[in-house]
Symmetry: D2
Subunit: 166 residues, 4 copies
């Protein structure tokens, strides 16, 4: 449509380490699970409330995917700019499902580290070393509309925590 904008801006923390898949050419496609949360005080009782929202992020931009794979860990705080995309897929039982993701692909996507931590608890290895970390990386170099590598649900995990709605 002429003159439209589809933009998502998130500042949140990774709920787990990045999940990396490979395209045929070896380039990474990275899935992130990002938590944001609202806190407020209940008007009636005055008690503090908090509601966490989980976001599924898919990084196709080659440069951003490499950065995510190398430097992000569970717990990392990130600034993300991408676009909403809803995909339809069919589960093993033949039921049609929809999944809405924030896609980082092409020129108007951003991924920025907002802390220097290596994350918490993701086990072996980890940490980053370059003097480049913490910078902002734009997805400018990848050609704008590049299509998905697979129609299958990005992930297909069975180990999901009950609180994460995807």
């Amino acid at each position: 449509m002429a003159g439209s904008v589809n933009k998502v801006i998130l500042v949140g923390n990774l709920g787990k380490d990045p999940e990396v898949r490979r395209m045929q050419n070896g380039n990474p496609v990275v899935n992130l699970t990002v938590a944001t949360s609202d806190t407020w005080r209940d008007k009636g009782t005055g008690e503090r409330k908090e509601k966490t929202e989980w976001h599924r992020v898919v990084i196709f931009s080659e440069g951003l995917a490499k950065v995510a794979e190398q430097y992000l860990k569970k717990g990392a705080k990130v600034y993300i700019e991408g676009a909403l995309q809803t995909r339809k897929w069919t589960d093993p039982q033949g039921v049609e499902k929809y999944s809405t993701e924030i896609v980082l692909q092409g020129f108007n996507s951003t991924l920025t580290m907002l802390d220097g931590r290596s994350g918490g608890g993701s086990g072996g290895g980890g940490g980053y070393g370059g003097d480049d970390m913490g910078d902002s990386f734009g997805g400018g170099q990848s050609s704008p509309p590049q299509r998905r590598v697979a129609a299958a649900p990005a992930g297909g995990r069975s180990d999901m925590d009950d609180d994460i709605p995807f």
Copy 2:
């Protein structure tokens, strides 16, 4: 979570007239279906491509809901600022479903008309008359975290067009 941001910015057109439900107190809750689209030229064939994305928007902010109910029509171009929210619900067959919506609720939501058209084809009535139209309305007056009126999928329509994924 400390220091998080959850923001969606859309500029798009309504795919249909607003859907209005009433809360117990008579206040409107409005659902919008908004289309955005990307166009690009295929690198191989050079042909023009277009992909439309449909967004489900739910307006709880009292002021914005009233504006939407009164002035928006199918085809209207809008600027929207809200937050992502994924809800879980169970369909009549007992299957769990997830629906991701852009929620306008509380202080950081915006709805702005970007054209003066009354929309296209929505039949009877329509049009708006106030001298207030075309302005920007913030949701500032409604109290921030107000919970949903119903757990059921906002809508429950059976007349859905195949191209709209919710």
Copy 3:
């Protein structure tokens, strides 16, 4: 700085036709003057108030500059995404001045037409014809940090109206 974001989003109308300068290589650099405005009702008197804000926009992204030069006219409504930049310059009297502009340059800039009008009153010619109009154009193709063509104030106009603060 590690992990910073500098982003401006405007939806407004051009106060005049785009101003085009040429770089040594012939590429256009375009200056736009964009108006946004707030309206509100005075709490005391109840009368309607309006305050217009004028923004100076400078387009270095080659693709966006060409689009602006070709298609934008006085009165056109645009969506703009860029970054804030404050420049220091010295006026003919030797007085140091500062000018803050919204710069469109590199991967995270956007310029989108929000109406199909050719603008009002800019005289000869005008209008656009391609079937490409009204689309969104990203600045992805131009290399991110490209420096200014001149240190002089972008414009150097002497015919300024008193209400425009630059």
Copy 4:
């Protein structure tokens, strides 16, 4: 103007402690100086480049101003959402000056702490103690268009460093 948007989003660090002024009623108005920076690698020499941009932020929203006054310190990393505003003022020599600021006022403003540090070096006291820190605070409670407390340049400092363009 019908249907306009004027929004600035910054993630950056405070260059100094917040500057607090009082309105007649004792409410604080807070000025922040925020740095953002771009880094890139020079295409020719391959060396790393960095350019810092300084932003002047003025907080009128009562709730946000109180938070800023209490919790923010030099060095703190913040997420800020506000609007651009250019003010005209006359310096002691009678020269007209313009100053562009990011104004946080009314419903569509946000200030969020992105780290838990108390900042660096601002001397006495400091630190914050509540369990509320690090949350996001919206400016929703303050009435949208509230005018400036003074026409004088917000600050009026004479100890300005040459690199800060305001």
